[in-house]
Symmetry: C2
Subunit: 83 residues, 2 copies
Amino acid sequence: MDFLAKIYITLKESVLDPQGTAVTHALHTLHYRTVSDVRVGKYMEVTLSAASTEEASTLIRGMCDDLLTNPVIEKYTYELVEA
Amino acid sequence: MDFLAKIYITLKESVLDPQGTAVTHALHTLHYRTVSDVRVGKYMEVTLSAASTEEASTLIRGMCDDLLTNPVIEKYTYELVEA
């Protein structure tokens, strides 16, 4: 079966996000003054084949831990849909 | 009212994604051979205040068009929740 995994990667709450701060300042300069905070993360769509949803889920968690995220500073969530 | 907007930015389907191709190759090297495609995008969480959901939605669309996305090569979707 083919699956599409949507992976959302964000910095942990305790980690400073200078890119988000820069975007906040840029939005203020553009007169979007009601913005109080921006956090910037990554979004990935991974297409893979697996025998079952459980196997796909295990593979995605493995990929996230092995390559896609830095577990020291980032956390992730994902959704898995049959493609 | 305070709102949290979750913004998902992806490259348009027709735009090549060399970063995604590199991630696909890296996953194959790590023996995740059933991965057929990876697309890399951005994920942003914007906290803002607005008088209503409609106003917040208008502001978010404005920010995406003015600064957060490049409409030539990217598309975006967003979810708005009351914070």
